[in-house]
Point group: C2
């Protein structure tokens, strides 16, 4: 700890005059990513054509990217597969988990989970067409809701609205005590907070790479399966790239003997290459240092905003240890206020009904940015700049 020089703003192409507090939604452009894309498109695709699957080793790119992500979430080499979207990866993990507990009928999540995780569970239940049930207690009531009816506990580690963070080790242990399979969604954790998947002993984890991992819009997702159970995982999405011998073109599906069985179709080579380049900003970075810096930034932010803007109410846990790497404030006119902020170069985002969300990313933010952002927030709130008609129309989609 203490070994990582932060921030590393020089590794990102950030626009002038912008303080970017939305890396929890879409990370900014890492230096070299555009050049890498260009190389893949011109030299590899354009120059090598079909041969690039071998000559540029496209075929192993999903695994190489997975291994790099594994290093950031405490997972061993070979345990993380990449591709598809987070929604698809949720489906894969859930479907596999249900088959591992055939006598049980409950999927347990929480009411704060990101909607697509809950939707994918609903879609899976409808597809199976049996008497499965999705239960979503309040986040702080999850532990006691883990009964022996529960087949699988699926939780997002860090809540997308509030930033509240579940105790990964404790809940995983509780799930296992009750005989349930554990799935963690790390969408707001990977690259944001230290995660030690191996130590948690969770069976599955899933995540996306366009937030704190800066992989770009629509960057591929990832899925982790605990190495000792991977050969018990029956893939619901039995695509050819998860076959043990994809190019043997066998008529019958026979899954790979590794996490690769959770690959599905042809991998998105351009986006995977951009992501691979984006992951290089983590070279030499210790997650413990990121965490310490993130807490320092978010604590400073809370102090500054609360002192300047009594109109805003903290909507994240006050205890830094119980938060991920974001801070949310509730404000009745939050949508318009966020538009006014964005117009002034302080970019966060809004989540219905009234949440102004700010992400903390020590790779490219320092305390000076935080104080500047707080000053702009004070200006917008105190002077009611959000009342301008141009900020009232709801058009922002993300």
């Amino acid at each position: 700890m203490g070994g990582t020089a932060l921030p590393r703003k020089e590794l990102f192409d950030l626009p002038e005059g912008v303080i970017y507090l939305d890396g929890n939604s879409l990370g900014p452009l890492p230096r070299g990513a555009a050049e890498r894309a260009l190389g893949v498109i011109r030299e590899e695709w354009g120059g090598e054509l079909i041969k690039a699957w071998n000559s540029a080793d496209w075929i192993s790119l999903p695994k190489r990217v997975g291994d790099r992500i594994a290093g950031l979430i405490g997972a061993p080499e070979g345990s993380v597969a990449t591709g598809d979207t987070l929604s698809i990866k949720v489906y894969q993990a859930l479907a596999a988990a249900l088959r591992m507990r055939p006598g049980r009928r409950v999927i347990l999540s929480d009411s704060g989970n990101f909607p697509t995780d809950l939707y994918m569970a609903q879609g899976l239940i409808d597809t199976i067409g049996k008497d499965y049930e999705l239960r979503t207690p309040a986040p702080d009531e999850v532990a006691e809701a883990i009964t022996d009816e529960v087949a699988v506990v699926m939780l997002t580690h860090v809540d997308y609205r509030s930033g509240r963070m579940h105790d990964m080790d404790a809940i995983t242990a509780r799930a296992h005590e009750a005989g349930a399979v554990m799935i963690w969604d790390l969408a707001h954790s990977a690259g944001a907070v230290p995660v030690d998947l191996a130590a948690s002993h969770a069976e599955f984890a899933v995540g996306c790479s366009y937030k704190y991992l800066n992989g770009g819009p629509g960057a591929p997702a990832f899925i982790y399966a605990r190495p000792d159970i991977v050969t018990d995982v029956q893939p619901a999405l039995a695509g050819w790239m998860g076959h043990d011998a994809p190019f043997a073109m066998e008529p019958g599906y026979r899954p790979a003997m590794s996490t690769e069985r959770l690959r599905v179709g042809t991998p998105p080579i351009v986006q995977l290459s951009i992501l691979q380049q984006a992951l290089s900003v983590w070279d030499g970075v210790e997650m413990a240092d990121i965490r310490a810096a993130s807490i320092a930034l978010s604590e400073r932010f809370i102090v500054e905003v609360e002192a300047r803007c009594p109109q805003l109410t903290l909507a994240s846990p006050r205890d830094a240890q119980a938060r991920g790497s974001q801070v949310s404030f509730a404000f009745e006119h939050g949508y318009a206020a966020m538009q006014a902020l964005i117009d002034r170069g302080v970019i966060g985002d809004f989540r219905a009904p009234n949440i102004m969300r700010f992400g903390f990313t020590p790779l490219y933010l320092d305390e000076g940015d935080i104080v500047s952002a707080a000053e702009t927030i004070e200006d917008v709130i105190t002077n009611e700049l959000w009342q301008d008609a141009k900020y009232q129309t709801v058009s922002r989609v993300t």
Copy 2:
């Protein structure tokens, strides 16, 4: 017909000295695609950051690309959704089709179908866990195998090995007569042969965009649902981007009232943008003209190769009307021979056990290329150049 000036080689960045007969596997780089990617990465992602979902209209990009593909396959505007991989789209179509025929238990395909289509069907059956059955008669026995037990007929229009083409209208009519749902996989049809989905009256079609549509490695897939049934389609993969109001963050899934319900997760914006640019090469192109030119090229190729190389046996239908836009030859030493050809700039590919595959793409091939390719094939076969040790090791993966 006759209105399209062909070829349009100037619209592609093809390497010097290469005759590319593998556009049926991975289309070449269209001019402008690299620049478009660079613009999306630098100006949109880098410059606009999260705002680009609105300012660059990323949010509607999947639909805009879908509409462009729709125009190439005889589908109405708004009927094609894009994203994910073909394997995922097969699963979506199959799962929806089975729910539309709850009393039936048979998925009918054919033994020549591309493996991932069959694997995805197997994975779906295992997931549902009921007594479903996947039947795969020989391609020419499909029509008579469509009985009233069949819930869904899922066929690839053009066979990836032989190029044999099913009669889309006749088989769809037969499926409907028997009360079955029809799914067409257009992987080797979109951009290759004229397709009139609306006229066929098929319920679903799926396809990929990295072959004849030149979208690049791992480009997004597409799915068509017939407009009059789309609100009866229950999405198995109930992702947030298919929700009627994705950003309302409702706890319950409520599908969009259009084909958009077949979207799943966050779309791959960079690859979709490249694909959008790639599709511009079709502006002003009539598929009937492509078809006529493709038949002329493939007929000439068969004549030239058969005259020069009696060692090769035609493995595609001799009747051009029964073929897609590829020609395959069987040759015992096909793997090594294809390596020798590629080494000499004639790029086709190999499919086990003994198939040498050549794709015909009139956008960037002319008869001169075909005769040159045949001369090189003659050299490799007649002089047994494939016997060189360096061509014997099986390492090629696609």
